[in-house]
């Protein structure tokens, strides 16, 4: 069942720990929930193991801290996710850049 939360994901520790308030997950903006959900869904479907994503996320956070970037937790998550998808050959970065431009210019407007 993909709707029972996994403790491996829910209870990540240290820098990778999910942002919470009163114990509950906090998604400040809708896109944060989407990117979280997509990542979890793909880890269920054996596109990658959760620990692979977690390692990428930890590396991304460490990189951002080193560079003194003021990016948010989920922005770092998004960077890590895109990197993992590229490394796995699942999403071509050029195709993603093109698709993003289509959304930015309004040529595409799919709503999820």
């Amino acid at each position: 069942m993909d709707t029972v939360p996994s403790r491996e994901i829910a209870d990540m520790k240290g820098a990778a720990a999910l942002p919470r308030k009163n114990g509950e997950l906090v998604f400040d903006e809708a896109w944060q929930g989407r990117i979280f959900g997509m990542t979890v869904a793909m880890s269920h479907d054996t596109s990658f193991e959760w620990r692979e994503f977690q390692a990428q996320l930890i590396a991304e956070i460490a990189h951002a801290e080193r560079e003194g970037e003021s990016t948010s937790y989920y922005e770092r998550w998004l960077n890590a996710f895109e990197q993992l998808l590229a490394d796995k050959g699942l999403v071509d970065p050029a195709a993603l850049a093109e698709r993003t431009r289509e959304f930015e210019t309004g040529r595409r407007d799919d709503v999820f």
Binding site: V4, D11, L18, G23, E24, W31, L90, R99
Partner: protein, 211 residues
């Protein structure tokens, strides 16, 4: 206390729309590609997000319950002095009494006056917990209320109602499901839902086998 979540002083309108952030557009572009490649289904993403939003709140409480299932000495301390026992695991800020479900006895928590609730352990209270209906009916007809939650207890099971207050909060220690021998603390915690610690559900049975 009444429900106040409709009383925001500001207006939510659809008459203006903030320009969408660069990050939001990036995420939509990514989702559109992943859906196209059939790597992700949007309805699965919806289900996952809501499951985690609702279900993850209680992860601290679930850890306490799992520890008590595994460690009889911890369970004894937890039942004797909930406040001190949860501090051992790094949770605090609440005066807590833990009540144990066992064969023939089912416990259920309500706050008849308002919505006192052990936030630190199980997150924010669900809407129904704060409703007048639950607060009044849990005491008057608990068996009927539990049945509406999908929990049909035999007539010979005694139901004990615990009324939370600002001074003392309650947490139900559900019974450990059968077939969970050999599970780790983290795996056991995954079976403990928020509702089972309020006492309107029981702990989930373990998954039949690996997916």
């Amino acid at each position: 206390m009444s429900d106040t979540h409709h009383d925001h002083g500001h207006e939510h309108g659809h008459h203006h729309r903030e320009p969408e952030s660069v990050l939001s557009l990036r995420v939509r572009a990514l989702e559109s590609l992943l859906v196209e490649k059939k790597l992700v289904a949007s309805d699965a993403v919806d289900r996952i997000v809501s499951a985690y939003e609702e279900d993850i709140g209680p992860h601290n409480g679930a850890q306490v319950v799992a520890r008590a299932w595994l460690d009889p000495a911890y369970k004894q301390r937890l039942l004797a002095d909930g406040t001190a026992a949860i501090e051992e695991l790094g949770f605090g800020g609440v005066d807590l009494k833990v009540v144990e479900n066992r064969p023939g006895v089912h416990n259920m928590v309500v706050c008849t006056l308002c919505s006192c609730y052990p936030h630190a352990l199980i997150g924010l209270p669900p809407v129904w917990y704060k409703s007048f209906e639950y607060r009044s009916r849990a005491v008057r007809e608990p068996r009927v209320v539990l049945r509406e939650f999908g929990l049909d207890l035999p007539e010979n099971v005694e139901i004990r109602i615990w009324d939370s207050s600002a001074e003392l909060r309650y947490l139900v220690l559900p019974e450990r499901p059968a077939g969970t021998e050999g599970l780790s603390e983290a795996e056991l915690a995954g079976l403990v839902s928020r509702d089972s610690m309020i006492g309107v559900a029981v702990a989930r049975p373990p998954a039949p086998a690996a997916r």
